[in-house]
Amino acid sequence: MTAAVTDRVQAPFGARATRLVATERHGAYTVLRCADPGGPRPQGGQFYMLRAATRWGGGADERPYLPRAFSVLRAPAQTDELHFLIEDVGPGTARLSELGPGDELLIVGPLGVGFAAPREDRRPFLVGGGVGIAPLAIWQDDLQEPGAAVLLGFRDAAHAAGAKLLTGPRIATDDGSVGRRGLVTELLTDALDADPHAEVYACGPPPMLEAVRALCAERDVPAQLALESGMACGYGACFGCVVPTTDGYIRLCVDGPVLDAARLETALTPGAGH
């Protein structure tokens, strides 16, 4: 129908079954590792729609029903595995967090547009908050750039346990229990003071993304933000995942989730679902 699509890795058509080969626990987080021999290697920043193949539904309030969107955490070389970072914050993530090796996961993906290489030889700064660190991990692998700065913020030690999923992070925690007490944007300010010739890659809760966007705009530093929205389908069918941009509403699943900060008047969007 259209000319060849080159801005993303395309997905096999339809939901497909994958089997969990292992799970990992890192403080407040669970990592699901599933085997996807039929699927392509995703780009950093792309996401998948996930649901358990059994007992998806009948949880709190008879939910979940729809699949849940997760950026891929890792797609390790020489394996056919996909890894996802899960925090139990609702009926869908509760079900996903209780899965074990051998359990079946239904997935659609990879979906969306991922991160793009830094422009003008800028040094990549990977800035993450909470479960938003996930796409930065695969992007760190993809960049293969030992000089990348990794700045991660978490609310407490249980969440800061996730920092080990990236290499060489500088950490800030809200309660000061790990690393510096404060916000990850304070780490970013220091890093930009030391090296303004950077490109920022950020993912985290909306207030964090908005603070990063504003700081980068003020410093004239280019930034790519991986936004989040509640989603039903993940592939553009429902028009539910829009965020406002300078060109009007766009679907995060089709034209994102990674957006150039210059397209946004604000990154303070409603964020995840309920």
Binding site: M1, T2, V5, R8, Q10, A11, P12, F13, G14, A15, R51, G57, D61, E62, R63, P64, Y65, L66, P67, L106, V108, L111, S229, G230, M231, A232, C233, Y235, G236, A237, C238, F239, G240, C241, V242, V243, P244, G248, Y249, R251, V254, T269, P270, G273, H274
Partner: protein, 300 residues
């Protein structure tokens, strides 16, 4: 093959308007989408005269076994659709049905006239779940409004005109009867059922549009009842939909008197759901409808 208003379809499963964007899906899935297109006809998302941005987010609320949406009919508008979308959709391997909505009879007439001339369009579906800005009445909820609308647009085209009924009406069969009397070629139902949700912490409406439309398995029993009552009231073909997630649900919709079945919300869980449901449809499980209409689909 199945015949619907003179259009030949490979099987009776189509998509519900607004639940599949074939152009976006082509970007996500590549050629496989076209090679294994999951529907026997493609119904486009509602086209309005003027471009619409749609409602502010949040637009989605997960229900027990379903979904509530307040999307707000975002679309490029008539000129944008004709210029950008129609050429792509015309290349799909299945017939194209264009769904349109106007906020006055004149707007609907303008939309019908524009598509009447296009060979790429096999049929039109009229989304009447909106107020007539001139009378304030929701067109699809009032038999007289729908009758007047059909009277105005029927002469404008020979193409099949399908009226998409709203379930948010006190007498749905009466609306269907009025549509049939004034020349509708078929009716389709159910559209989404009006609902609301509150933010768990603030108590304010969750959806940016305040109210939304419920769909998915949560509405299946209501859909089946309305399809049956409308199919019993009119002779024109009925397209039935509402919470179909398996071939046996589709068989029930056909048994209730529908000629075609549409799949909507289930596609959000699996983009190939339409093809799966068509494959699951087995004629031997269809209980015959008294009129014999439920047995239109017989060959595999």
């Amino acid at each position: 093959m199945i015949s619907f208003c003179g259009i030949e379809l490979a099987h009776p499963v189509i998509n519900a308007s607004g639940t599949f964007d074939a152009i976006a899906a082509r970007r996500a899935f590549g050629d496989a989408l076209v090679e294994h297109f999951p529907f026997a006809a493609f119904v486009s998302k509602t086209v309005t005269v003027a471009p619409r941005q749609g409602n502010p987010p949040p637009r989605l609320w997960e229900l027990p076994a379903g979904l509530m949406n307040s999307i707000g009919l975002p679309n490029k508008g008539l000129e944008g659709y004709l210029a950008h979308d129609l050429p792509e959709l015309a290349r799909l391997p299945v017939p194209l049905i264009v769904n349109v909505m106007g906020f006055s009879r004149d707007e609907v007439a303008r939309l019908v006239t524009a598509f009447a001339q296009r060979d790429e369009v096999a049929a039109l579906e009229l989304n009447v779940s909106c107020p007539n800005v001139e009378t304030g009445l929701v067109m699809g909820a009032d038999p007289d409004e729908v009758g007047r609308l059909m009277g105005a647009v029927r002469p404008l085209t020979d193409k099949p005109l399908i009226v998409k009924l709203t379930p948010n009406a006190s007498d749905v069969p009466a609306v269907a009867i009025a549509a049939e009397r004034e020349g509708a070629s078929a009716v389709s139902l159910i559209n989404t059922i009006r609902g609301m949700a509150l933010h768990p912490r603030t108590g304010e409406p969750w959806l940016g549009g305040t109210t939304g439309g419920a769909s998915g398995p949560a509405v299946r029993a209501i859909a089946l009842s309305q399809v049956q009552s409308v199919a019993a009231a009119v002779d024109i073909p009925v397209i039935g939909m509402g919470g179909v997630s398996h071939g046996r649900h589709a068989a029930e919709i056909l048994a209730a008197g529908a000629t075609l079945v549409a799949v909507g919300t289930e596609s959000f869980r699996d983009p190939s759901a339409g093809a799966r449901i068509a494959a699951e449809l087995a004629p031997s499980t269809v209980a015959p409808h008294p009129s014999g209409r439920g047995l239109a689909w017989v060959s595999r």
